[in-house]
Subunit: 597 residues, 2 copies
């Protein structure tokens, strides 16, 4: 089948069985693949009352129609599941080559359920999956694990000690630290006794209309080469190009979002990273942008840190020692933890300390304790064991939930919404919690991409955000990277998908697919018990104006934006999709299947 | 002064005097030049109860900071006045080289008032203006006039018989038909006894920061060369590339908007134009896109027709004889009339005939009568004399105002708003009437540029439209072309203006400037007696669903969009800008000066 392989690889770790199934073509057309397909699979196969760390939860690794296709940024894939951190439906997206190899092995999806009685790792080839014992890998850090499994023509992702110890923000990563990062997907692998996955595949996906594809690809490549963001800013400085810019706007969080600027941001900026740590640029498979940073400290070599990690492991902790931040980033990657949630939960602990709730040495600015704290978390030692549960649980344990900078249990990324109203609405409404990758308003509110909006205005933001949410759902579903959207418009995604699949997609069809995915995620969360009350922000953002910096004096006007948002989505005032909308999206016929255990 | 010349040339035709004045730098910074400066001049100098064809009205030809600067599409200029057709403040924009030469002569503005006792033409050089007798030019068509005045290193615009005869949609054009086209600006020149203007100038504008300018220009040129719309669609087919696309969507008007599709659209498409009439591409000064069509019929050579002219002189009249349409376009250009209002008012007459209100041979489909009718209008003969007053007055004369496809007296361009909700809101709210160039929703609603919105949704459109309205006000004010915005984002306009003027403009500063201009236009119209009731559409669009084609079944949901629009603009429910908004835009200190006659 052009566009998709139409095949799904199933693994039941409890039974020790594997099989290959066909995927209904209509499902692929409708949900596109990647995140869309994963959402469909979780919705239909995982009842919301499932224990995320139990046998019944699934890990649905899904590739998109463009994953492994030689287009700019065609190297991304997605992992959908029920998150142990948030309790929401969750998808995590990576640029690791694992997804590419999975696709080349011939699979649109790899769905893993069950729990293995002993540690195992999984080998995936065009023939199917093989379960191997992993007793000797258990306990190893990620790079060690992967170097043990290394073989030409393969790509491996693994969990580290954090995943084994079910840290609720444990990640799954490759040797470079490119991760299915957020939501504690690594803890699920740990709970399943699954240490690593290695994919081997060589078969490039079919292209329905090669001539048209080549032309669209040529035009897209021209755009990527021409756009200043994809040909200059990102290749030159990576995502951390944002540090100085965001700090200027007063939305670069420090001290657990108690401040929106960081005096010494320049010490931990993309410019500084280039000066002191950069070895060379890196790129995900198929990516001409190359925003990755191959870096080194005096002791170690690795990738990153990304912009978000610099905030989480740096400014938010009041730490400006770049060597420590870079090392902390490496350490998180080796141990297998999401840098954002890890750092943000440490920040939460630091604020609990500051407010006298927590008796610990770990206070703002203590760079000297950072690396040890990260290890304590991964190995669940002492206070680390409490931090390993994420900021929501940690703050509730100390009876001060307001210091957890999270929505629906997911910790905030590095943009203070008080200086970006639409971003505030985004955090409140994202189906996986406080996320910047489910419709980032950075473009329209700060960079003017694709159009500049008044960042302090709340009126009219909902309409724009909804379109961004749909576009991002589409990009996550077809297997491309959001950064390419700075260079090519949504019409290119439709043109690519059309030429690859042979099925006519207009830009508007993709928006509709994005809306379908978004609403399906919402329906899942509603069944899981989330309500309109969970579309919220920590009171800090709606009640405490920033005191200094480029966004001083502002709070988020969430309520009015939310009212507009529900109305524009044809949802009720309680945030429930109308019957009419559900039918229009073709979601009325979807049944949540009862799994047989 | 970098960025602007800071000089204004004033001509009083009653007194026969001319002078050169300084323009306050703060005004230029705030209103940018071009349309913004013209709006300021009309607002402060022309009381709204002025007779548009009387002595007190001014013609304010304004150049922008980028007019005549060698950047992609830096060849545009603007003309602001009080329109005799609409009674609103009005600006008309052109790619004629006249504006470039005016700028090179050293002027940001040329302001003409008064009435000459005898026909004159105006010569503009760096030294100032000279008034010359034009008795021998009077009565001539535009190309004849201009060839008489032709001189190396100059550019001339003129009126034709239509302007002399005060046809309310008479234009001012150069020999190629590139016009200050809409709103009857040619009638004002006619009323002033001013036949033509010739500008001679050689001094290129100063650039504050050449290195940065060169870099921005390099990046912008890369984008124009890379973007499929500016490097492929527009160069290849011109604006008439839209005929087949719009017809497909069911928004290509025929029979005076009684239908949204035209069966034989393919006969009058951009593809057909290329096949049968194209001689070569043409381009305005400084434009790498080159959307102009140098064409020829068996009898004549000229430019065009543009997409809008093909609708107005073709499909809307139920005429698919392309030779007649091309000839009619040439004829309008020679006689000096806006093709849109001319054709649309003929369509109005045809519908009056169809409905039995008007006893005439001129009925839908009568291609054989078109050229004669156009001449009759320009020379105000018979029914032509009535059509020369525009559709609003014509339809009211026959007591059937609902068949005039106009808003605030300005006739519709070629996009049926029943298939584009946001476009409907645009027509209703544009300060100069039913205009597609004051915030076109074609991009977001049909082309996916910069993002694809659901064209049939009304929710959320207001927010997007407002941003588009501001961007377009900015582009009109700095002297660039809206087509370039398909390739470069708003940030480029800020970067260009910054490098040329040496004054730091962020993208958001330009949005604010656009908002300032928009609100000032609004305030003028309110003082002129327009009210919220004039933000309306002909009942056809809100009450009669299209019966066939790609937008069948739809009407415009104007009221709900309008409510949202006023709210987002911080205007009252009556459409009046709030005091707070007026202050925020710095418009509270602006005084409408009483002119001394």
């Amino acid at each position: 089948m052009n566009g998709w392989t139409g095949k799904m690889l199933r693994v039941d770790l409890s039974a020790g069985s594997t099989s290959i199934e066909k995927i209904d073509e209509e499902i692929l057309k409708k949900y596109l693949g990647g995140r869309g397909l994963g959402t469909y699979l979780v919705y239909t196969e995982v009842p919301p009352d499932t224990d995320p760390l139990g046998e019944e939860n699934i890990l649905a690794f899904c590739t998109g129609a463009m994953t492994g296709v030689n287009v700019p940024t065609g190297g991304r894939s997605s992992l959908s599941t029920l998150s142990p951190l948030t309790g929401t439906i969750f998808d995590s997206n990576t640029g690791s080559q694992f997804g590419v190899r999975l696709r080349w092995a011939g699979f649109d999806a790899l769905v893993i359920k069950g729990i293995s009685p002993t540690p195992v790792w999984l080998e995936i080839t065009a023939e199917g999956a093989t379960i191997h014992p992993a007793n000797e890998l258990w306990g190893k850090e990620i790079p060690d694990t992967i170097s043990t499994l290394k073989e030409r023509g393969t790509s491996t992702v693994s969990i580290g000690p954090a995943g084994e110890n079910k840290v609720l923000f444990a990640s799954i990563a490759d040797e470079k630290g490119r991760s299915y990062g957020r939501g504690g997907v690594g803890a699920i692998m740990g709970a399943k006794n699954l240490k690593a996955l290695r994919a081997k595949g060589k078969e490039k996906p079919g292209i329905a209309n090669k001539d048209i594809f080549d032309f669209v690809n040529y035009e897209a490549s021209k755009m990527v080469t021409a756009s200043p963001r994809t040909s200059d800013a990102l290749p030159e400085f990576g995502s951390s190009v944002l540090v100085n810019i965001m700090n200027e706007y007063g939305v670069f969080p420090s001290r657990n979002f108690q401040r929106g600027e960081f005096e010494t941001a320049y010490k931990i900026s993309g410019e500084k990273l280039k000066e002191d740590y950069l070895v060379r640029r890196g790129a995900c498979w198929g990516c001409p942008i190359g925003c990755k940073r191959v870096t080194k400290t005096k002791d170690e070599k690795g990738e990153g840190p990304e912009y978000e990690s610099i905030y989480a492991l740096g400014s938010s902790l009041d730490i400006d020692d770049f060597e420590t931040i870079v090392s902390a980033n490496y350490l998180c990657n080796r141990l297998g933890m999401d840098t954002i949630s890890c750092g943000a939960t440490i920040a939460c602990a630091m604020e609990l300390e500051e407010r006298g709730k927590l008796d610990t040495e770990l206070s703002f600015g203590r760079a000297d304790l950072l690396l040890k704290t990260i290890e304590d978390i991964a190995y669940r030692r002492g206070l680390g064991d409490e931090i390993a549960e994420g900021s929501k649980r940690l703050s509730e344990r100390y009876d001060m939930p307001e210091v957890a900078m999270q929505v629906k249990g997911l910790e905030f990324p590095a943009y203070d919404p008080r200086g970006m109203q639409g971003q505030g609405l985004l955090y409140a409404t994202s189906n996986r919690g406080a996320c910047h990758l489910r419709g980032n308003m950075l473009g329209p509110e700060l960079l003017g991409a694709p159009k500049m909006l008044d960042r302090h205005a709340s009126s009219g933001k909902a309409g724009v955000l909804i379109v961004m949410q749909h576009t991002n759902a589409v990009i996550d579903s077809i297997g491309m990277c959001k950064f390419v959207n700075y260079a090519i418009g949504d019409d290119f995604f439709a043109r690519f998908l059309t030429s690859v699949s042979g099925i006519k997609y207009e830009t508007q069809d993709l928006q509709l697919a994005g809306e379908r995915i978004w609403n399906l995620e919402r329906l899942y969360n509603l069944r899981a018990g989330f309500t309109q009350k969970d579309d919220n922000l920590p009171p800090r953002f709606t009640e405490e104006p920033l005191k200094e910096g480029g966004s001083a004096g502002h709070v988020v006007h969430l309520d009015e934006m939310l009212t507009e948002y529900y109305r524009f989505r044809s949802w009720s005032a309680d945030g429930i999709p109308s019957e009419k909308k559900i039918i229009a999206l073709g979601l009325d016929t979807l049944e949540m299947e009862q799994e047989d255990a």
